[in-house]
Subunit: 271 residues, 2 copies
Amino acid sequence: MQSEAIENTPFPFDIGKASPKKLRNIFRTGSYQGTTAGMSDGYTQGNLAIIPERFALDFSRFCQRNPKSCPIVGVSDTGNPSMFTLGEEIDIRSDIPSYNVYREGQLETTQPSVEHLWRDDSVAFVIGCSFSFEEALTQAGVPLRHQELGRTCPMYRTNIENIKSGPFGGTMVVSMRPMSAADSIRASAITARFPHTHGMPVHIGSPEEIGIRNIEKPDWGDPTEFKNNEVPVFWACGVTPQNAIQEAGIPLVITHTPGSMLITDCRSTEN
Amino acid sequence: MQSEAIENTPFPFDIGKASPKKLRNIFRTGSYQGTTAGMSDGYTQGNLAIIPERFALDFSRFCQRNPKSCPIVGVSDTGNPSMFTLGEEIDIRSDIPSYNVYREGQLETTQPSVEHLWRDDSVAFVIGCSFSFEEALTQAGVPLRHQELGRTCPMYRTNIENIKSGPFGGTMVVSMRPMSAADSIRASAITARFPHTHGMPVHIGSPEEIGIRNIEKPDWGDPTEFKNNEVPVFWACGVTPQNAIQEAGIPLVITHTPGSMLITDCRSTEN
């Protein structure tokens, strides 16, 4: 999501126009472990969570009950890493630039492949992310401050309770983008068309109303800047399910490294 | 879905304006076992499937992979009949007017309550139905022939393969409504706004293209009538998952009796 990262891309071709498969095949070699921001314009990118099957039904219900934070884009068959519903020849164990491995909720390693950790009872969930709707906002001429500043979007814990399912609960995490009232209206209408990537905002205006005490101190990402008359616009964030998984005390969880997403063959505008 | 049924309602109040809870409390007594068509205008109604937990993850993946036929509106916790995500004090074992009980794929009984069949491993899935989008079409002035004729909407098997998950597979079932080309365009735009109730049409025009040989002989529901220059418009149908469940060879399945839906507290236009 940082523009520096996009500018410093090591690829000898236009990453925005490159096909998802071409890029996944490069990631599979392990030679690139950076951000996927700005890659394969128009294709859905997704967050990853690989968990053992015995938690998968409860997690699936958690996502169904909290669709704005956890829009499921695809679920693998148990033990099958091919992720065939999301694209051609995807191997979910190696086709993401970089993975985080958590044991008992603690980050253990970051690595370019997790083939050795995939098990017969592994289930991979891919969840929609904000890259797709940010692209739509940019195309519509809605300026995104964190991109202008070359920063990561600020994210905050809120007091909005998730609907529980089994060991999964907690509160919603939101991302925030400052914009004029006029742009916030357009952004609401535009993102409403992307239910698979968090949909319309969950709140506009007063951070206190949703339990955010200090807008200048995000819990994840970087602080941002407000211009005159701009309001904070909050969207449900894909960190919500990752947070819920970590709090649930699952022994082994594999996620993407933040910013290093799965690039799918699905068009962002598909219904 | 038959207008006779609506006209012959035994209720001493306006069923269209009655609250979902008021009607569910009447159904709970077992005194009414008919259709819910025309009831609680503006509230989502849903198809029911109660299956054992060991099939639930595969069925959940089946629905995620085939969202037009199987838009999940709610899933119960295992063994908990309260269906708390869909409304106040819902008891899914008794709050639907009438239930069908299938053993080994064969209809065994139809009854107003299934409390005695609910088990510790039961999981209830509620899936969006076409009542909600038909209401939106009617409000927009798109005429619905089967309602004019007092018939049930015709439904057909197609050659459109479902994406498989475990024992669940088969092909898509579609419902069909004849309309003018102009109305088919408006109907497409209107129903696109209802992803939780089958969304936009899956086909307009040639039945043969999707494997329907004789449009006058539907596999479920009643035949309908075409006026000059009308085209058949096909939507994914909630019979698809019921069909997949029956073909999967699950020992005990409980569904709603066709037309007797769960009336939820959720607004049809909610996102």
